[in-house]
């Protein structure tokens, strides 16, 4: 059963005042991520220098979970090597889909609060949208858009 505590201060803060929701000048990569069935629609932009993510931002609309999750992801991955960002995305997606260790959850920092989403099938795609879009960028997707609807 859902409970209101899920919309805690961390999540609502990232939703109402997302630090990374802005336009990024001269990004190296941009990709749109959409969930057509619920209308979540983000554009993720990253700057990458020598395989290190030096800056990132997102624009778009969506529910609090999609927006906060993307903002928390950017908090985590900016300043880290691309390989580590992908590793964190893998941990995040495993957290949502099944189980991870406490050590792994610690590595996700604030994004770990989204663990309970795994009990809410209808909201899973909102939570993973930003992460999946980031994965697609590094897999070489440069046009079209990413979606988590068929994951």
């Amino acid at each position: 059963m859902p409970n209101n505590t899920f919309y805690n201060e961390i999540l609502t803060e990232h939703n109402i005042r997302p630090f990374h929701k802005k336009k990024l000048e001269n990004p190296d990569f941009t990709l749109e991520g959409v969930n057509p069935s619920c209308g979540d629609d983000i554009i993720l932009a990253l700057k990458v220098d020598d395989d290190v993510i030096t800056d990132g931002a997102f624009e778009g609309d969506g529910c609090a979970i999609s927006q906060a999750s993307c903002d928390m992801m950017l908090d985590l991955i900016i300043g880290r090597p691309k390989a580590e960002a992908l590793e964190l995305a893998d941990i995040f997606l495993r957290m949502i889909k099944s189980k991870i260790t406490d050590e792994e959850k610690d590595r996700l920092e604030e994004a770990g609060i989204l663990e309970d989403i795994s009990h809410m099938p209808a909201r899973v795609k909102c939570a993973v949208l930003g992460w999946h879009t980031m994965e697609e960028i590094f897999k070489g997707a440069t046009e079209g858009s990413a979606t988590t609807e068929d994951m």
Partner: protein, 406 residues
Amino acid sequence: MPIDIDLIRKDFPLINDEVAYLDNAATTQKPECVINAISDYYRTSNANPMRGLYKLSVAATDAYENARTKVASFINAKYPSEIVFTRNATESINLVAETYAMANLGEGDSILISIAEHHSNLLPWQRVAAAKGCKLKYIDTDESGKITVEAFKAAVTADVKFVAINQISNVLGTLNPVREFSKIAHDNGAKILVDASQSVPHIKVDVTDIDCDFLVFSGHKIYAPMGIGALYGKKELLESMPPFLRGGEMIDYVTRDSATFTEVPHKFEAGTVNVEGAAGLTAALDYVSAIGIDEIAKREEYLTKIAFEKLSNVPHVKILGSSDYVDHHGILTFVIEGVHPHDIAYIMDADDVCVRAGHHCAQPLMKHLGVMSTTRASISFYNTEDEIDRFVRSVAGIRSKMGYAE
């Protein structure tokens, strides 16, 4: 007789004081009599209807055909054979599109629909337009969510040969004057299909008075089971139309290379039909008739008034469509500034209030209204003042739960 709400609520196993069910435009809860009618059918009358030459099959046929007579009388059709059973309104519309429209429309013709159509009354016409080279035209709602008779008249230009329009919008709740629309369409030589999915459960619908060519609705929105719906079509039109699906129960004679088809409505009901659904639909229409559709309409208008007035007073909430409650017919679609509808519905679920969030299968309308998605509460006569209060309280608490100071 006025409605005794305490007694009414006891008729519905899933209606109770724990959860406020306000998603009635999506589907309604079922009274015991409908649930029992389904199991009674299987306990007493189950056999393959229409063709069996034994008593049990006759009983199944009777259960099915009684439902047809019941529907015909409920919407005041001239003949029971003007009622074709389908799975739902969507299938009914597809049937008309794939048979009547495909056979009768062509290049230079236009199909007119409103911007406020459910996707089910939009996609079939997109397909006909693409396949037959005709044009799909839209009539917009005005700023109060309405389509006036004058605006409709102006939209029905000489090229318009078919009109498909809702009687009550599933998003705005607005009632279209479909009787006047039918006259205008007919004066122009066009046929008209009325999507009555949101009207048949809530107001008196009379196809003879409307004088439409086709009218469709789903059983499950009027307390009947899912999987049974109806298409009303004027007899001479149904007779002139080619079959929809082909197979058993819809033929007169079949050879290796050809077939002749049986009379309407069976021509459009290929395969073994949904008798349990028909039995449930009979029970549902009997139930509604016993209470009285006018009593239902009166109570729903009363509940709509309370809900509209209270919801209007909640800060940061905007109700879409008309600013007069009488135009809403139990449907209140709204947005809360700064909160996404999926978060709204989720938080309301935690308060045990069931509402719908999303685009309500009406994406072009969402675009026309300038919103991405919305939240919708929809009322049935079995709802109460307390449930409306619970709903409004839940809405009023959402912004603070989402971290806004006010």
